[in-house]
């Protein structure tokens, strides 16, 4: 082996070693800490909030969220309010894991679109109210929570004897589903609960 080759190998090995050691120091490519926002906003406009809920302006459907993610909607922030264990098991692409206590001190910008997700939607709905009272307007929740995402996007089911409209809707949902690595399928004989462990993607 020539001397030039050996020395270029040594150089590459040194670069790799340096990059590795720096990685150990850097720890984790986690988002940098954000400064806390002063929680001194007052004036809860209950009428406005109630109207937003009544006119269904507070939430989006899982399919709409899927379109936003795939279409790379600018300023989209997906906030997952579940435990870190649940988040590690499965989370939406680009989702951030924050507790409800952290989310109320997170300084969202007005141009950001915040989507709140929890297991069934209860925590998300509560966080929605809290963020709205802090003055954040561009906030939505996934009303059915992660369960809705799994059922509508990851594992959409075409019911037996579906109408043409339902079949067309299923086809659109399937296209989205495939993008996220979900498994669209026909209705099984025995309906099953959607669960995170059933999430599958095309392999390698």
């Amino acid at each position: 082996m020539g001397a030039a080759r050996v020395s270029s190998h040594r150089l590459l090995a040194s670069v790799a070693a340096l990059a590795g050691v720096l990685a150990a120091v850097a720890g984790s490519p986690a988002p940098r800490e954000r400064p806390a926002v002063p929680a001194s906003r007052t004036g809860v406009d209950v009428t406005r909030l109630a109207a937003a809920v009544a006119h269904e302006k507070d939430h989006i459907t899982a399919l709409e969220l899927a379109e936003w993610i795939r279409g790379r909607r600018p300023g989209l922030r997906i906030i997952d309010l579940r435990s870190s264990g649940d988040f590690d098991t499965y989370h939406l692409p680009r989702a951030e894991n924050l507790s409800i206590e952290s989310v109320v001190s997170t300084p969202f910008r007005p141009d950001e679109t915040v989507v709140l997700i929890s297991d069934g939607g209860a925590h998300a709905a509560q966080a929605w109210v809290l963020l709205q009272t802090l003055g954040h307007r561009n906030v939505y929740l996934l009303r059915g929570g992660l369960g809705e995402w799994l059922a509508e996007v990851m594992n959409p089911v075409l019911p037996v004897n579906a109408s043409p409209e339902a079949t067309a809707a299923f086809r659109r949902a399937s296209e989205l589903s495939r993008y996220f690595g979900g498994v669209p399928r026909n209705a099984p004989a025995v309906p099953s609960q959607p669960d995170a462990t059933a999430v599958q993607r095309r392999g390698c």
């Binding site: 790799a16 990685a23 150990a24 490519p29 790379r72 680009r94 690595g181 462990t197």
Partner: protein, 192 residues
């Protein structure tokens, strides 16, 4: 706020196909350059005479692993949107052993068999044919062992998650192991 990469959401179906083919071409080109389209060369790994397989594979893994870590750290690449292969403990252990056995019998793996066949090697073509037949048969016979094949899975589990260690520590450990192994391989080769 989201990272600019990966690009995939913005591409038309035609562009996606072109990208897949382009990436594949670079993959195939590189494998052939390294000589991995030659079965006797690959088999040499398992008789301790030619460590090319190990060197290429682990240099690639270390390079890509470091690249992922640092692009993620810089916020350029959104790591959470990358597809991580699912972990299936028993099937991947059993499948790995079986795959390794087949590998040393055939002398080529699925990817390199395509490179060999493309270079005119009849053995490469036969490995591809065998691979297709094996996959076909396995697919047809899988239903009775569905519970083993498709059991509960921790999903896209990573080593940092499994060992409860920071991502960067695991990266550093892998780099250290690879560099040590490369040094040992070099020493082994000089002795031979």
């Amino acid at each position: 706020m989201s990272a600019p990469l990966p690009l995939v959401g913005e591409m038309s179906p035609a562009a996606t196909i072109a990208l897949a083919a382009g990436i594949g071409m670079a993959f195939g080109w590189t494998l052939e350059r390294a000589g991995l389209g030659s079965a006797p060369k690959l088999a040499g790994q398992f008789y301790f005479t030619d460590f090319t397989v190990f060197k290429v594979m682990f240099s690639a893994i270390v390079t890509a692993m470091l690249g992922l870590f640092w692009l993620g750290w810089l916020g350029v690449l959104d790591l959470s949107s990358l597809y991580v292969p699912e972990t299936h403990w028993m099937p991947q252990l059993a499948g790995g052993l079986l795959f390794g056995a087949g590998f040393v019998i055939a002398g080529l793996c699925p990817g390199t068999s395509c490179v060999a066949a493309a270079s005119g090697r009849g053995d490469g073509a036969l490995v591809m044919a065998g691979m297709f037949s094996g996959v076909l048969l396995a697919g047809l016979l899988a239903a009775p062992i569905r519970d083993f094949y498709d059991g509960p899975t921790p999903g896209g589990l990573t080593l940092p998650q499994f060992f409860h260690l920071p991502y960067g520590i695991v990266v550093c450990a892998v780099v250290a192991m690879a560099l040590t192994a490369f040094a040992l391989a070099g020493r082994w080769e000089r002795r031979a």
